[in-house]
Structure formats: C-alpha cells, structure tokens
C-alpha cells in the first residue's frame, strides 16, 4: 500500500511540475512545456518552433521556480516530520529550532540596512542562512545541559529563542523607517519563490533536501524508536542524545537552506507530516518519502495559486499555505481527539 502511494505521488509530482510550469499569468500549452524542457534538458534535435519569450518563460522563469517549490515543500515536510518525532509533539514544526526567526532577522538586516558585504545578489539568502544557522546553534546550546538534550528543553529553548529573535526583527523594522524596506521584509517573512533561478542556491537546496530525505528514510526505524521514547530508543540500541543531536544538525541545515531560498513558508512542515502518516502509517521508513512527495506537490500548487489568483500581482505563498493548512490542521486535531477518546 505504501508502495502504491509512493508511485502514485511520484506520477502526480511529475504532472504537477509540468502543470506548474504551464500555468501562470501567461498560459503556456502543456505540449510546449514538454518540448522546451526536452530541448534544454536532452538537447533534443529539431526545429525550434516556439518563440524566444516562451522559451525564456518556461526555462528561465517558471521551471526553476517550480523546482524550488518542490524542493522547499519536500524539505519542510520531512524536517517537520523529523522534529515531531524528536520532541514527541505533533504540533512541532520545522521552525521550532529558531531557524525561521533567525533567518528572518538575517534577511531583515540585509534588506533594511543593505549589509552588502560584496556578496552581490545572494546577499539576502546568505544573510538569512547565517541567521538561521546562528539561531539553531543558539537553541541547541540553550537546550543542552550537562551534555543532554531532552525533548522538553529543546521545545522550550526553541520557543524562547524564537520570540527573542522576533523582537529583534521587529526592532530592525521599527528602527529603519524605510516603508519600502519594511514591506519587502514582510513579503519575505510570508515566503516567496520569486527569487528562484538556475544557479548555485537552487543546486545546493536540491542536494541538501535530497540528502535529508534519503538519510531520514534510511534511519526511519531509529526515528520510530526515538518517537516512542528515550528509554525505548536506548533499549533498542539507539543512543537517544547522540542520535537527536545528529538529527538536529541535519534538520537545521535543511531548514536553513530552504528558508534562505524561499522565506518562512508556514504550515507545510506542520500539516504534511500528519497527512503522510494518515496515508501510510507512522513508520518513518514509509512516511518520510511520502511526506516529501506530498510537500513538494502541495507547494507547487500553492505557488501556482499565488501567481495566478491576483495576476499579474503575486500573493506571498505563505498566505496560501496558511489558508489551506489551517483548516486541515483543525480537522486533524478533531480526528486525533476522536481516536484518543
């Protein structure tokens, strides 16, 4: 059954990539998308029957954006799933580690004060990434006591550091008195894939997210044991502290890469793990790949809606994911209570 879900979702993902590239303010026929992509990807010979602008829309603008959406969705989904297992709390999300608030502070500093240290166009992402890594390191240091990182301490440290950094971000906005800057920080906080382009950042995101999905799938059984409890994990030969620390590094890296590329897109990392578990059960070897595929598909379509709904204006993608995610979460919570009672 899990295999059927994975195969089915893979097919849907492929279709979604094509559809996500075709749909937008300017519609491109599906066949045309396939032709253009085939031409660039496999250097298919033959007459170029499409216009240069169409080629540019498909290949330069939309395809990298759709790929980034897929990568961001998958990364957030599996990170959320890993964190929910690590802290044994179904309401944990990828931003628990302070990564998003750290990234936001970094991005706000970059936008408002133009910390252009010769990093060029990647300054925003770079600054967000540095902020994210710094924040999660801080969370880890605060959560760690006498060499131990327990799930409760991690949860509390994440919340505390998150609030503190939010205050810093708010202060930066307040202190800058640039309305335009405040608006772009706002836009960034809500998430956007508008910066997507072929190049190093996209490649890094793809590699890191694929790595995270692979590692979390392979370590699925260990994750299962940790999700039951620390003593259980140890009794089954999985040292809980060391394993959790390793997972933290992996997840922080994955979320930092994703957030610095696309901003703090909410709800995907919270809701998708629940959907995946509902589909194929809680065992992580099966649930992680399914969550990755679901997250990728969800974010591709959320981005399509973000681009199309008020075209040519773009809506921040975080608004779309929240509108879709919040009711989903409510339904899940109700179901959860029903089964627990």
């Amino acid at each position: 059954m899990a295999r059927r879900w994975t195969a089915g979702l893979l097919a849907v993902l492929l279709l979604s990539v094509v559809a996500g590239t075709a749909l937008g303010a300017i519609h491109v026929p599906f066949g045309s998308v396939v032709q253009v992509v085939g031409h660039h990807l496999f250097l298919l010979p033959g007459e170029q029957t499409w216009s240069a602008p169409r080629d540019s829309i498909v290949w330069e603008v939309r395809l990298p954006r759709v790929l980034l959406a897929a990568v961001v969705g998958a990364g957030l989904a599996v990170s959320g799933m890993a964190l929910q297992a690590m802290v044994r709390n179904l309401l944990a999300d990828p931003y628990l580690l302070g990564v998003s608030s750290g990234a936001s502070t970094g991005a706000a500093a970059a936008i408002l004060f133009g910390v252009t240290l010769g990093l060029g166009e990647h300054v925003l992402s770079a600054s967000a990434f540095v902020g994210a890594i710094a924040a999660s390191t801080l969370v880890y240091v605060v959560a760690r006591s006498a060499g131990r990182v327990t799930s409760t301490r991690l949860l509390l440290a994440g919340v505390a550091v998150g609030y503190a950094l939010q205050a810093v971000t708010s202060f930066l906005i307040f202190a800058s008195d640039s309305a335009e800057g405040a608006r772009s920080v706002m836009f960034w906080l809500l998430g956007s894939l508008a910066l997507a382009a072929w190049g190093q950042p996209l490649a890094v995101a793809v590699v890191v997210v694929l790595l995270a999905v692979a590692v979390l799938t392979v370590l699925g059984r260990q994750l299962d044991a940790l999700a039951v409890g620390d003593e259980t994990a140890l009794a089954l030969g999985v040292p809980p502290e060391r394993f959790r620390t390793g997972l933290l590094v992996l997840v922080a890296l994955c979320v930092a890469v994703v957030v610095s590329a696309a901003g703090a897109v909410g709800f995907v990392g919270l809701v998708v793990p629940h959907l995946a578990r509902r589909a194929v059960g809680a065992a992580h070897t099966r649930a992680v790949p399914v969550a990755a595929l679901m997250g990728a598909i969800l974010l591709i379509w959320a981005d399509v809606v973000a681009r199309v709904l008020l075209a040519p204006q773009e809506i921040p993608i975080g608004i779309i994911t929240a509108v879709v995610g919040a009711p989903f979460l409510l339904i899940l919570v109700r179901r959860l209570q029903a089964t627990a009672a």
Binding site: R88, E231, L234, G237, A282
Partner: protein, 260 residues
C-alpha cells in the same frame, strides 16, 4: 551472565546507591525488591547502560558494559521499559518489529527472518490477534504483553523489566509474570509486590536505602523480621502452593509483636 559490582550512584548530591552488587545468572529470574526510593530502578537502569555508575562496574558476558556500544548491548539485553504512555501512532506489529532494530544493519530492510521472529513473538504472548491494532488504543495489560513481545523479537539473552505489573489488575499481573517465567531464559525484574516476587522469581535481591539488605532464594530473603525492618510494617509469613506468601499489617496493630 550480567554482573554488577559495587555500584555507587547519586542524583545531584543525593546518594541513591552505595555499593550494590548483584548477579543475573542464565536460566534464572532475578527479582529486585525494596521500598520506594531504595534504588531498584536505578540499579536496573545501570544494567543496560541507561545510567552510568559513579563507581563500580557492570559486565555482560564478562565484558565491561561501558566498552560496549548501545547496539551491542541491545543484541544481548532486551528491556521492557516503563515509558509514559506514548501517543505513538505505530501499530502493534510495527511496535514489535522495532525489536528487530538491533539485529538489522542500517541499510538492511526487514526480511522473512524478521517477520518470522515478530510473528513468533506475537504468538508467544498471545497477541497475534492484536497485530493490526493501533498500539495507543490497547489496554494496559495488552500493551505490556506487546512490549514483552517486542523484547522477545529482539532475541536477546537477557530480559530486563521495570515494574511490569504496574497499573495492571491482579489477573494481568500474574499473566505477565507467568509469561516472563515461560518465555525468558534469563530475566531481571523490578517488583513492588513481594508475593508476586515469591511466586515468580528464582533469586531475589532486597535493596534498602541504596544497599543490599539481603540476596538469595525467596525463602531466605523474604524473612519477616528483615522485611519488617526494611519496610517498617508488620509481616506474617505463611505458605501457598509451595511458595512463601506474606501478610502485612501496621506494626502497632500486630498483637504478637505487642505481647512480645
């Protein structure tokens, strides 16, 4: 054989164990007894490396526990832990399959041998019919049986149990311990109930404020005078079905004691 020698331990400044030693011998069920706070669970946790002794050492099959990796320990020792009721979404079968974890390589998938071990363990504890159920939906007794099944699926030499009869009604208490007797070649079990210990254990270690007050066969350890001193309650000993059984009464209300 698991041997603990001269274990010392304290939480923060409060000492819990002062030089506890014990031996879990193959083919025997060892009961760890003692009042609340006497260090039973602390001592048990040291036997599988969940706690490290401040002084003293534990050896498993002659090798110091401290030199074994957690995975190697789990291959020899299976533990039924008292985890607060986890709201896991795993099914019973998945829960029992976790017992195969120490036997599987990182990239190895569960194979026919693992499925067979899981089936056998479920059958052994009479939980085959529960396999597809959600673990979280089971009753306390059913959960305990499933956890024993997981430990069995581990195919370890030793079985360690921390108060496995907690929260179980009287029938399930006997059922679970009967199961342990039946299935385990060698076991160490922390128990509160002295009569259950008398019935199901081959050897007993009685702890009192972090020291071994007595060790040996139940007939020897369950001495009324000794128990009275350790637990601070009147004890009368009788016998049932060939095992010593104990009756308890508040000290002042013990007429024999008062007259003596």
């Amino acid at each position: 054989m698991i041997v603990a020698e001269n274990l010392h331990f304290g939480y923060d400044a409060r000492p819990v164990l002062h030089g506890v030693g014990l031996e879990a011998r193959p083919g025997r069920v060892l009961g760890l007894l003692g009042p609340n706070g006497s260090g039973k669970t602390t001592a048990l946790r040291m036997l599988y490396g969940s706690l490290r002794p401040a002084r003293g050492r534990v050896t498993v099959g002659g090798r110091p526990l401290a030199t074994l990796r957690p995975r190697e320990v789990a291959q020899q020792i299976a533990v039924v832990v008292q985890e607060s009721d986890a709201d896991t979404m795993l099914t019973v079968r998945e829960m029992v399959t976790l017992g195969r974890l120490p036997r599987l390589g990182t990239f190895q998938r569960t194979g026919p041998a693992d499925r067979h071990a899981v089936d056998a363990a479920l059958a052994r504890v009479g939980a085959t019919h529960l396999a597809a159920r959600a673990y979280a939906e089971l009753s306390g007794g059913e959960r305990q049986r499933v956890l024993v099944a997981r430990a069995l699926a581990q195919e370890a030499d030793f079985l360690l149990l921390d108060e496995p009869t907690n929260h179980l009604d009287i029938r399930y208490q006997h059922e679970v311990l009967g199961l342990v007797r039946d299935v385990a070649t060698s076991a160490v079990v922390v128990l509160h109930d002295l009569n259950l210990a008398a019935r199901y254990c081959d050897d007993l270690v009685l702890l009192d404020r972090g020291r071994v007050a007595a060790a040996g066969p139940p007939g020897l350890v369950l001495d009324p005078d000794l128990l009275e001193r350790v637990y601070g309650i009147g004890v009368t000993r009788t016998e049932a079905a060939g095992h010593p059984q104990l009756l308890f009464h508040p000290l002042a209300a013990n007429p024999e004691r008062i007259s003596a």
